[in-house]
């Protein structure tokens, strides 16, 4: 047992992980600290204050931010779910479908949304949507998001699937499981970490998108990034910092909750699924 632990661990990996988290969180610390800044500037400290939090909830723009946050979260969630399902199906076909003609072409198709520069997708999609008379609004944003989320979901899922031995579902089928049962009962649980990774990537990429959304959203609908970019024209205001801190706190709360639920709710089961 001692030897096993030795082999698994690499000296230096823990410090690198810590460095990774420091890099990820240091800028956020700035965001949090300056959300309590009484001054308008993000580069000068003007004393401690809650005024920007009040502003978020009661200010004249509170309704806008509330709508934008709701739109962003629902779109990101829906787009991530849809694209993860599509990408999982595609990954099973690509990795478990044997060698077939046009495989590379299919791979190119799936990866296309990340290969085309965003601004081009934005302009092209807008021209295309206007040409076919697709009304710009919530639905057009959702569709566009599903499209560009697919490769982000696909790549981790496919990578994971490539590492799973084919004998598992073969064995299941030998035991008279249907193909669908073999997938649902055997393959999917094995793929779960890949699916979770894909889902998370799709979710954050949708939550963050500005360029495409801004072009195709149409009047009267905002997502968080488009609402936030407004503040940039006059320099980032602390209310945006406050809003970000709230978003961050909510997400950390969700993480903590899910951790405790998976830990104490269902002991012994895998946390990922």
């Amino acid at each position: 047992m001692r030897q096993r632990i030795n082999i698994k661990r690499y000296p230096g990996f823990l410090p690198v992980t810590i460095l990774c988290l420091v890099v990820l969180y240091a800028p956020l610390l700035v965001v949090m600290v300056y959300s309590f800044n009484d001054s308008l500037s993000i580069t000068r400290w003007g004393g401690f204050s809650f005024r920007w939090y009040m502003e978020i909830f009661t200010g004249p723009e509170s309704a806008k931010f509330k709508d934008a946050a709701w739109n962003s979260l629902t779109i990101a969630l829906s787009a991530a779910v849809a694209s993860t399902i599509i990408a999982t199906a595609a990954a099973v076909a690509m990795v478990r479908g044997g060698a077939f003609k046009g495989k590379a072409l299919n791979l190119a198709l799936i990866s296309m949304p990340i290969m085309v520069p965003e601004i081009v997708t934005a302009v092209a999609t807008l021209v295309f949507f206007s040409a076919i008379g697709f009304t710009l609004g919530y639905l057009s944003i959702l569709v566009a998001h599903i499209v560009f989320c697919i490769p982000f979901a696909y790549l981790p899922i496919a990578a994971r699937l490539q590492g799973i031995d084919g004998s598992y579902e073969e064995a299941a089928q030998d035991l008279y499981a249907s193909r669908f049962q073999a997938f649902l009962r055997v393959l999917m649980p094995l793929m779960a970490p890949g699916i979770l990774a894909g889902f998370l990537l799709a979710f954050i990429i949708s939550l963050d998108d500005f360029i495409i959304t801004n072009f195709i959203k149409g009047a009267g609908i905002e997502t968080l990034p488009t609402a936030i970019f407004g503040a940039v024209k006059q320099g980032i205001k602390p209310d945006i910092m406050a809003l970000s801190t709230i978003m961050l706190s909510v997400s950390i709360l969700i993480v903590t909750l899910s951790y405790f639920i998976s830990r104490y709710g269902r002991p012994g089961t895998k946390a990922e699924a």
Binding site: Q3, L24, P27, R96, A182, A271
Partner: protein
């Protein structure tokens, strides 16, 4: 080798009969909502530009000509090879490559570390890596800029510790751009690698150790080949979006030099208003990436065929 073993196994055909129905949603969604618009852009790249944006439906190679030939400031000198855009492309590729490398160096150990935690804590670690991305990219980038300013907290801390005597000039340098890209896309490296490493069977490491391989040999010869698909996926997810990125270059690099992303953006959103040229530059970028991907896919296929 273990990696070859894994990839032979991977050419399983269990789902071959239902391949088409499984792929149909992808074809429909991407085919209709992306390929169709992109084909339109391909057509645009061969059309005549309309002054101040838009296209005139007349065939023209002017966009590609502009990319390849330099005809002087007034467009009437004898054509020479145009280096401007090649320089911009090469610069973007270098920036993206360095960012990918940085992500890999930091991301791989992180992914490995997370994958070797107990199952219950793994997803918490994963969320920890993605939570920062709930905060908008623009805000994260601006905060990053704040941190690495000449008289920002990073320089002050380093000077306070006596590590450096004078502030390091980071802002508005190429390194700042690479750092920004690295920061923008780090989880895109960590997550796919994690998904691969999580699957790794440590009995293989033990077997190798029994054969007197040391830890680093095991990492290099046993683990890396097996988790290779995850590494490739991560590199693609970092490298390709980095190529077209323009937020980090603009904010951290000072927007002094065009990168592919900002060059193309300028054609559609800037003064230039040259849609065919913007379309042509995107098509050239798209072809380069697709060719690279194609070569990779062919090599993979050949390799697994050999192994079989």
């Amino acid at each position: 080798m273990a990696g070859e073993l894994a990839s032979t196994r991977a050419v399983s055909r269990t789902f071959a009969p239902v391949r088409t129905p499984l792929l149909i949603p992808t074809w429909v969604i991407i085919g209709f909502f992306l390929v169709a618009p992109v084909l339109m852009m391909l057509a645009y790249s061969f059309l005549t530009k309309e002054f101040r944006g838009g296209v005139i439906w007349e065939f023209s190679l002017a966009a590609y000509d502009q990319f390849i030939f330099d005809r002087g400031l007034f467009g009437d000198e004898p054509p020479q090879i145009e280096w401007t855009y090649i320089v911009i492309f090469v610069r973007s590729i270098i920036q993206a490559a360095v960012a990918t490398l940085l992500c890999l160096i930091i991301g791989f150990p992180t992914a490995y570390f997370i994958a070797t935690r107990s199952p219950a804590t793994r997803s918490m670690w994963l969320f920890l890596v993605t939570v920062p991305y709930w905060v908008n990219l623009l805000i994260r980038t601006v905060s990053m800029k704040f941190l690495i300013r000449d008289n920002g907290p990073l320089n002050e801390a380093l000077m306070g510790l006596g590590v450096i005597g004078e502030p390091i000039a980071l802002i508005n340098t190429d390194f700042a751009v690479q750092l920004g890209l690295f920061y923008s896309y780090l989880p895109f490296m960590v997550l796919p690698i994690y998904a691969s490493v999580e699957r790794y069977d440590f009995a293989l490491s033990e077997a190798a150790a029994d054969l007197y391989a040391n830890r680093w040999t095991i990492l290099y010869k046993v683990i890396l080949p097996i988790v290779w698909p995850g590494i490739v996926a991560g590199c693609i997810l970092v490298f390709v979006p980095s190529l077209g990125a323009f937020l980090a270059p603009d904010l951290l690099g000072g927007a002094k030099n065009f990168l592919i992303g900002s060059l193309i953006e300028e054609q559609f959103k800037g003064n230039a208003g040259n849609w065919p040229f913007g379309a042509a530059a995107s098509m050239i970028l798209l072809s380069l990436v697709l060719i690279a991907l194609f070569i990779y896919a062919r090599r993979q296929a050949r390799r697994s065929a050999q192994a079989a």
